[in-house]
Amino acid sequence: MNLATPYLGLQLANPIVVGASPFCDNAAVARQLQDAGASALVMHSLFEEQIEAEQHALARHVEFSAESSAEATSYFPDYAEYQLSPDNYARQLGRLKADLTIPVIASLNGSRPGGWTEHARRLESAGADALELNLYQLATDRLLGGQEIEERMRETVAAVVRSVRIPVAVKLSPFHAAPANFVARLEGAGAAGVVLFNRFYQPDFNLEELEVQPTLKLSDSSELLLRLRWLAIISPQTRGSLAASGGIHAVEDVIKALLAGAHCTQVVSVVLRHGPRVISSLLGGLRRWMEERGYEDVGQLRGALNLSRCPDPAAHERANYIRILQSWRV
């Protein structure tokens, strides 16, 4: 049985990829994920803003109060001979590449046009097999419209694609007005694929302290449905790769994502809950399911229930919404 699947021009051994997560920080854990059968590893996002903030903080704190006292003209060693902004991310990427045989996909979240390309090149030279651009930004400015935001994103993708030779995927948020159109534009800009969809920190309220606190809840299978629909809609309309991210918790979820058109599925929450070995059991389940139904190649599954091939396309479209509401009994 062939579980291999193409993704961003890479040939993955199976469709289960470990999505952007802190697993990549620990080389031993990364090795366990590989041993459990993960076909690729996406590193957590390198946040350009965070790097800059850290650099500023470091410079500020080292300089702060320097040269204000006769006895203490500084408070830290003078690291003139050290690089104070090393790329720990690239270093870790290099380490993973040395340790692992599966592809390692670097992930980047930038804020400035120049910054994206600089970091992208750096990650490429550190050995990344592909790049995943995490374009999500909160549009809080009432003067900034959706079209403008999307155009900037498209330009960014184009710039990054031009600056590197490795394939570039784009991880999208579900909040685009016309995802299919936007994916087409990204493809035009050179993106090798898209990841549907991003999940992000969302603020919660602490009623005790009257404070707003960022939280990240682990996903569950219910989140998959949103992904299934858009994978199904987009997959017939793109030549690029598709990854399902968010809500993959059981083997059924993997199968559904593939049927909707995904080349691979990204798992994070389920591994956080159950540990790396869950990947083996997902793969085992996938194999069993395919065997029981006579599938020999995972490619046969891919897109079988997408908009162009499913028996009832309307189920993916607006009619579904109306029917569900009408059938709801209070």
Partner: protein, 1229 residues
């Protein structure tokens, strides 16, 4: 616009009314002038300060460097440590072993051993540190070991401590057998560093190479670098081989350090004579080799001046530079004067002195930068007298020789003073033992001098920059000097003056540039360019005093040009017009903020300086600034570079000239005179003048003769440094008083009072009903001292009370200070007049109750957000009226006891902490001594009471003797009894009665608290601390644990945690922090607590109260956030919580009184770690920086640190658990 502003015409400025000066044709070999003689190889110029110049040579010549921080030498040790951490090799390709010791005494011991072991050894020290090395110096000289010590010579602590420069420390080593070699400038310090090392090996004897602390050690100059080739040419490898061959080895065993009997000791002491006698010859030989290699020639004594000089000054150190330039000026005008620079002070070579001294000399002044009370004269004078007596037998036409003192504690020494000395020598009978630079109206010993005398050549460009500590002015100026020194071919000099405060401190940078070497080791008084980086200094700091006529003044102003002019006070406008100044303004803060640099205006003002000064063509200057920025920040991140470059580009567009009107407008405002709350004559006549910057003018008679100064002076000084202060909303406030507790400066306080007390309250004085079940109907006020607040915002961070409808608004929010100043000032004055509560009636066991106690430490100069002062303030609240503090040298002695004003103060009855500082190393013993004296006096009083009890009333006597003074009420009752006792003794004329009257107050409880930092407690003072704790005496020890030597700039101590970066631990500390608490607990009889006020204020309070009442020794380790941790200190409270929750700083109290059957005296006051240690560490630069420079090591150390935290907590848990037996004594021995 800026582009039209022409560069400044310096020649025009200096040609106004200035005398043109030609350089006097110096004799060959004259100091400084000699620098241009001989076959000079292609010189490599560097721009650095004296310390760096010396360290660079010493490092390359050493294999073992034993170090310990002390101002002003620390940066030499720091540089060596950093170079070693970076793997920089010495001359022979090996990386020297740099080791920090627990004290200079320890360093000396290590060096002694290192030398015997055959390692090329050096160190850097000063002042008290050098004194601690003296015992070993005798040994090292006695055993003929070639140690070289580089000393940035500094004053000694006598009537007061001084971190500044003179030669008292070096002169204290005269008897040890160490040779003393002086250098006078950064260039010479570098050169003579090499000569000292080479001579030591040649002579087989130790050398101290010294140069003036700060004046030379911290003066930045462009100098010619001593390259490795020069070192190789000067150092004789054969000497080194001989030294190494003498090393202690079991292959050829010998014995050293024998005990010698009367039969041989004397002879043995004399056996070394010929080696000492040979030292001058060796030194001159090395100097000659150096001259051959570099063209810079030095002599044991060097003469500079008129060939037939009649009046001659003999001196050592940087003063020689000033004397030489003054000699040039006077000689040009026909005066027969000269100067002899003594370089090798000891062994003193008579022949060399006589050879240098012109035969025509008739009148000689020997200037010493030291003081030996009661001596016939200071050391250089005595040596010269003895040399002349021995060198010119008969003394028929002997010159008259007098000695004088100058420059102690970095007192300025100027050409005007040199001139005064020469004039003094012209008199019929010049006085011996004169002083210059001060006004001695007590013995009349001082010479008066003309402070306006200015002989600086027109070619020298002089610039003064007045800045704020945190705005980067000094850093930018150091950068400018480098650019000018290394890019223009000009010589450059920079010297930087800091005030004594750690928060809101002012810096004044003095920069000189010129085509020839700059020999002016004194402050600039007339500058052609003066910059002021803070508009708030306008009208408050006399910036214009530095301006020469026609000078440019560059002002950072938030206002447009016309408005800026109108906002200048009348006296500023008048001075500017009268002096014909050109006023340039820029809103540097706006440009800096727009570029993302916050309030750091340094880059902006530096760009303006280059644009205006014309030192370099403008475009070239901008390119150089940008290149320097790239060099400085390139390794810190591209974005930082980009931001600074953007600031450079944006600077000139905002630079504008303000055209000066011909006259001052009639309605120009007048600078208000500073209003000090003068309470005593002393404050009026002394303190207020120090605050006004007139301290140099105070005569000797104004000084306390024994160094005893009044307390409660910080309240006089309204520093007004906060841009924002907390504003109180009574409607939201829950009156918890947490803000009062955390305030490092006692600038926010709470009181409750009767409604009728509000009579006469100024408008804007706020109050609210007091939330108290016991005191119904009272009012409550939370009041800010607007001019004493530093704006740190800790209070706002800790405030738990939020407005329900708008949680961003708390009971206190930071609000702009200027609009509220008048209102808050009146409210504060009124608040102070409200009565303090009766101490005995307060529940001081709660945070809320304790914070109604009046703090007896207020408005210190500590850093904004300081983590130490809240503990001290709380201590003074709880026990301040019967408190004696023994304070180790360090941050707490500087903000606690650095003039001009000091924070300890007194209550309405005049009682308050009595404070004293002895040294750094002896504080525990010092405090124990005070305690023993207090105990002895109290015991004597009780004994007398027992003897004459019946005469004062048996009941009263019995009550006095047996009084329970463990609480406020008990102390108050005892004070009342003492008052009655004193009354009854007034008529008693018996000797016992009179003695008891004098000792009566000693019957009231007095507590000695021994206070210091971790450098003291963990390192230099540990032996003494351990002994004092072991003594069982009821002294209390408060360790303000910042985990580094904060005061000297963040050097590692044994308290520094695993994984933290600190100076002397540049690669991250690889061993765990010493568990001082555990060590103290093992005694069993010591009360020990580990506290962190920001994590659990009630536990801190409880620990201080328990320690105070414990009848035995107590040790409190107080976690103290510090700027050396590298995070914004207003977040200190949150970070303390993380420290505790992560197990980094577990809270506990070990109270021997609690030990019972099966019960441990140890109580854990914090839970097992609940937060990842990495989260705590990630917030602080001291840990974070290691992740950048050595990520793998950072990860390894983090894992170790986590493991250590877990293991330590488990150990504490075990110790706190039920005990099988109770072997621990419950009371002190």
């Amino acid at each position: 616009m800026a582009s039209q502003i022409p560069p400044f015409d310096w020649q025009k400025l200096h040609s106004r009314g200035r005398v043109r000066v030609a350089h006097y044709a110096a004799t060959p070999g004259a100091p400084g002038a000699s620098a241009m003689v001989g076959p000079t190889p292609t010189p490599e110029f560097i721009t650095c300060d004296g310390n760096e110049a010396v360290a660079s040579v010493a490092y390359r010549l050493s294999e073992l460097i034993a170090i310990y921080p002390i101002t002003p030498s620390s940066s030499m040790a720091e540089a060596c440590d950093e170079w070693a951490a970076a793997g920089r090799p010495n001359l022979w390709g090996a990386v020297p072993r740099v080791i920090e010791m627990q004290s200079e005494g320890g360093a000396a011991g290590a060096m002694h051993g290192g030398l015997l072991g055959g390692a090329l050894t050096t160190t850097f020290t000063a002042s008290q540190g050098l004194l601690l090395m003296i015992p070993n110096l005798y040994k090292i000289a006695g055993e003929m070991l070639p140690l070289t010590i580089h000393v940035s010579a500094r004053a000694l602590a006598a009537q007061g401590l001084s971190i500044f420069g003179d030669h008292q420390d070096v002169m204290a080593c005269r008897a040890t057998g160490v040779s003393l070699l002086a250098s006078n400038s950064p260039q010479e310090a570098q050169d003579l560093a090499l000569i000292a090392h080479a001579a030591a090996y040649r002579a087989r004897l130790p050398f101290i190479h010294f140069f003036d602390g700060f004046r030379t050690s911290h003066e930045v100059q462009r100098i010619t670098r001593v390259g490795d080739d020069v070192i190789r040419a000067v150092i004789d490898e054969a000497d080194l081989a001989d030294f190494r061959a003498r090393a202690l080895t079991p292959d050829a065993p010998t014995i050293r350090g024998t005990a010698q009997n009367p039969d041989v000791y004397f002879q043995g002491r004399e056996a070394v004579n010929r080696y000492h006698a040979a030292v001058p010859g060796h030194v001159q030989t090395v100097m000659d080799r150096f001259a051959a290699a570099t063209g810079r020639s030095y002599q044991l004594f060097e003469y500079h001046g008129h060939p037939q000089a009649e009046r001659v000054i003999i001196a050592m150190g940087s003063a020689v530079e000033t004397i030489a330039t003054t000699v040039d000026w006077l000689s040009e005008r026909g005066e027969r004067v000269g100067v002899v620079a003594a370089r090798l002070f000891q062994p003193f070579d008579i022949a060399a002195l006589l050879a240098a001294l012109p035969a025509t000399a008739r009148s000689i002044a020997v200037l010493d930068r030291t003081k030996e009370p009661g001596s016939l004269g200071e050391p250089l004078y005595l040596n010269v007298i003895a040399a002349l007596a021995r060198g010119r037998p008969g003394l028929g036409d002997a010159p008259r020789v007098v000695g004088g003192r100058y420059g102690l504690g970095s007192k300025e020494f100027t050409p005007g003073m040199v001139r005064a000395v020469f004039e003094h020598l012209q008199g019929a009978s010049p006085r011996h033992g004169f002083t210059v630079g001060i006004i001695d109206d007590v013995t009349g010993a001082s010479l008066s001098s003309d402070e306006t005398f200015d002989l600086e050549p027109a070619e020298v460009r002089r610039c003064v920059f007045v800045g704020l500590g945190a705005d980067g002015t000094v850093g930018a100026n150091k950068n400018s000097i480098k650019i000018i020194g290394e890019q223009t071919g000009n010589h450059a000099q920079g010297y930087f003056v800091y005030d004594s405060k750690k928060s809101g401190s002012m810096t004044i940078s003095h920069l000189r540039f010129g085509p020839r070497p700059i020999r002016a080791p004194y402050l600039i008084r007339q500058a052609g360019f003066v910059a002021c980086s803070q508009f708030r200094f306008v009208g408050r700091v006399d910036v214009l005093r530095y301006t020469a006529p026609g000078a440019i003044i560059l002002l950072n102003s938030p206002y447009p040009p016309e408005e800026t002019w109108n906002r200048l006070p009348r006296d500023w406008q008048e001075v500017m017009i009268a002096k014909g100044l050109r006023l340039m303004v820029i809103d540097a803060t706006k440009v800096a903020t727009a570029s993302g640099m916050g309030r750091r205006t340094n880059t902006v003002l530096q760009t303006c300086f280059f644009a205006l000064s014309g030192v370099l063509p403008r475009d070239e200057a901008i390119a150089e600034i940008k290149a320097a920025i790239t060099k400085t920040y390139g390794r810190k991140g591209e974005d930082i570079v980009r931001m600074n470059h953007a600031a450079v580009d944006a600077s000139l567009a905002g630079l504008q000239e303000v055209p000066l009107p011909a006259t001052v407008e009639a309605d120009a405002w007048v600078t208000p005179l500073p209003s000090y709350a003068v309470e005593t004559d002393f404050v009026r006549n002394v303190t207020a003048r120090l605050l006004a910057g007139e301290g140099d003018l105070l005569p000797v008679s104004a000084m306390p003769v024994d160094g005893c100064w009044p307390t409660a002076t910080s309240r006089v000084e309204k520093r007004n440094i906060a841009l924002e202060v907390p504003g109180w909303d009574p409607a939201v406030c829950i009156q918890c008083n947490k803000c009062v507790l955390v305030c490092p400066h006692a600038a926010i306080r709470a009181k409750f009072f009767a409604p009728e007390d509000l009579a006469g309250a100024p408008g804007g004085f706020l109050s609210a009903p007091f939330r108290s079940a016991e005191r119904l109907g009272r009012r409550y006020t939370l009041q800010v001292a607007p001019e004493d607040c530093t704006g740190c915002s800790l209070c706002v961070q800790v405030c738990p009370a939020k407005d329900r409808a708008n949680p961003r608004h708390k009971a206190i929010d930071m609000v702009p200070q200027p609009p509220r100043l008048e209102r808050d000032r009146a409210a504060w004055d009124f608040f102070l007049r409200l009565p303090d509560p009766d101490r005995a009636s307060l529940d001081t066991g709660t945070v809320k109750g304790s914070q109604f106690l009046r703090p007896l430490m207020e408005f210190s100069g500590a850093c904004a957000g300081c983590g130490e002062t809240p503990y001290l303030k709380l201590l003074t609240q709880l026990v301040g009226d019967h408190l004696l503090i023994a304070n180790a040298t360090g941050c707490s002695s500087i903000y606690g006891g650095n003039l001009p004003t000091t924070p300890y103060c007194s209550d309405s009855a005049g009682r308050g902490p009595a404070w004293a500082n002895s040294l750094f190393e002896d504080n525990a013993e010092f405090g124990l001594g005070i305690h023993l004296a207090v105990q002895r006096r109290a015991a004597s009083a009780r004994e007398l009471l027992a003897a004459i009890g019946p005469r004062v009333g048996a009941d009263l006597a019995a009550e006095l003797a047996a009084a329970n003074q463990s609480n406020e009420a008990g102390i108050a009752a005892q004070r009342a009894r003492v008052a009655r006792l004193k009354e009854s003794l007034l008529g008693d004329s018996s000797p016992e009665g009179r003695r008891l009257l004098a000792l009566a107050d000693d019957l009231v409880r007095r507590t000695v608290w021994i206070v210091g930092g971790d450098g003291w407690a963990y390192d230099i003072g540990y032996g003494g601390l351990d002994h004092v704790l072991a003594s069982g005496e009821a002294v209390k020890v408060l360790v303000l644990d910042t985990e580094v030597y904060s005061n000297t700039g963040g050097q590692s101590s044994k308290s520094t945690p695993l994984g933290a970066v600190a100076k002397f631990a540049s690669g991250g500390k690889g061993v765990a922090k010493k568990d001082l608490a555990l060590m103290a607990m093992q005694y069993g009889h010591v009360y020990v607590a580990r506290v962190a006020f920001g994590a659990k204020d009630s536990q801190t309070l409880a620990a201080l109260r328990e320690a105070e009442t414990y009848d035995g020794p107590a040790l409190i380790l107080a976690y103290s956030p510090c700027i050396a941790h590298g995070y914004p200190l207003h977040l200190g409270v949150e970070q303390q919580k993380l420290a505790v929750e992560s197990g980094y700083w577990p809270l506990f109290r070990y109270d021997p009184r609690q030990a019972g059957e099966g019960k441990s005296p140890l109580r854990l006051d914090s839970s097992p770690p609940t937060v990842d240690l990495g989260r705590f560490m990630a917030n602080e630069t001291r840990f974070g920086i290691l992740r950048n420079i050595a990520p793998e090591r950072a990860e390894t150390l983090l894992v170790q640190a986590q493991d250590q935290v877990r293991r330590r907590y488990a150990l504490y848990e075990k110790l706190a658990g039920p005990m099988a037996t109770t072997p621990i004594p419950q009371t002190p021995p």
